[in-house]
Symmetry: C2
Subunit: 286 residues, 2 copies
Amino acid sequence: VKPVIALHGGAGAMRGITPQGAKRYKAGLERALAAGYALLEAGGASLDAVAAAVVELEDDPLFNAGRGAAYTADARHELDAAIMDGATLRAGGVAAVSRIRNPVLAARAVMEHSPHVLLAGRGAEVFARKHGIVFAPSSYFHAAKRFAAPRKGTVGAVALDAQGNLAAATSTGGHTGKLPGRVGDSPIVGAGTYADNATCAVSGTGLGEAFIRVALAHEVSARMRLAGEPLARAAAAALAQVSRIGGDGGLVAVDRRGNIAMPFNSRGMFRACIGRGGARVVAIYR
Amino acid sequence: VKPVIALHGGAGAMRGITPQGAKRYKAGLERALAAGYALLEAGGASLDAVAAAVVELEDDPLFNAGRGAAYTADARHELDAAIMDGATLRAGGVAAVSRIRNPVLAARAVMEHSPHVLLAGRGAEVFARKHGIVFAPSSYFHAAKRFAAPRKGTVGAVALDAQGNLAAATSTGGHTGKLPGRVGDSPIVGAGTYADNATCAVSGTGLGEAFIRVALAHEVSARMRLAGEPLARAAAAALAQVSRIGGDGGLVAVDRRGNIAMPFNSRGMFRACIGRGGARVVAIYR
């Protein structure tokens, strides 16, 4: 199997993005793509590749995740992330954590070292500290946010590895002004993140509440499995359900044959992929 | 449309339940059934009926929700709940809240008075207090737990009202010894709770982590919508997916025609329903 990776750095109206800004965003997407694909090319696991790609995006202050996370209504940061292994349906997530440098790595620790799938708030932080997850001072999250405010969006990655295993990971700072304690779709398996070797791996970005209400990521998988739809049609149909209830955003998905879909119903979506043939796409608008 | 209601008070091995204890559990289920069905018979909304039934079960120390909630690994209580309106796909949930007397009412406040679907921890409590949700001293949750320890399980209700609207609600204390911050399937729309007028309303109980990983409640709905399966087959098939990854438990579901399914793969499930013809079932074992 030829490895494949696709990722996103958020979807939206893309207001105020200058040509120079667009270049910076694309460079960030390229770095994440390279980090994930290098592992896949070396025969690594899709789970490692999506984690590596998301870590790059979390570390980049341009994107609304990790370092670049949005401010809550009480001017703090609350981060959400999830990761899922399509081979076993194992999954892990953290929600509303405040000082974890790379929430996707905490999500992975939940998957690998706890009997649970989702930990929230202070309990999640206590667990993460116990498992060697790196914390950052709050100044780290305040740095370098001149590029885009207010913020919404999410980062995420999906991949198929040479062993035929699918994985997905998503991470976000939520959106500016969200209520403290708000949990979006990103850390929720079935909503913003899903992976099943039988079908596909999905990571979503957009109005999280709408994604939860239609169980977007699981819906893409269910459409392939239960209705026999190909990936592109399943992804578009699931996103249309989001539109129907007034939501906007997009998703990246890859299926077990290495097909890629990156639909969005907003003006733009930061996205990038490397397909089966090695062709690379890095784009923002249609 | 003839109204229909079904509810559960948890599933499991039912160890240590004496005949006298079984009688008490059944009386609790009857009270919840009566509370929900009275509203439906008077032409009330399914959303009100499922909330009323779940409030009764939360107030009953026999069941692992509200007053009877299990203890976490650090000997506290952390409650989860969700509610969903099948007519609009609106939904609300709270996770890891500690002193809210009826978490299902806090979940409903999230649905009705916030732009969010899920609030966790302290942020959820601040929001609930602002919206007039009743808090209880921690002694309230310590009372009257002699009946069953350790605890797991969940309470939940689904209903179809005379207007043809479906609704679902679920509430839980999680399970004894869970890590602080652990979020189970109950408050997660798509996992433990789902309602869509086009298909069915579902509330699950069991090993929450497995329910999240297969998106159990949304899977039942997806099977009806995408594969044309009748309710009973969809519910059984979704539960079989839980079994396949080592999970146990059960669910209650009602479809838009008023059919009811209450499958479980554990030894027993506290359950009760009143069907289209007015026939009443209150049962624990097969």
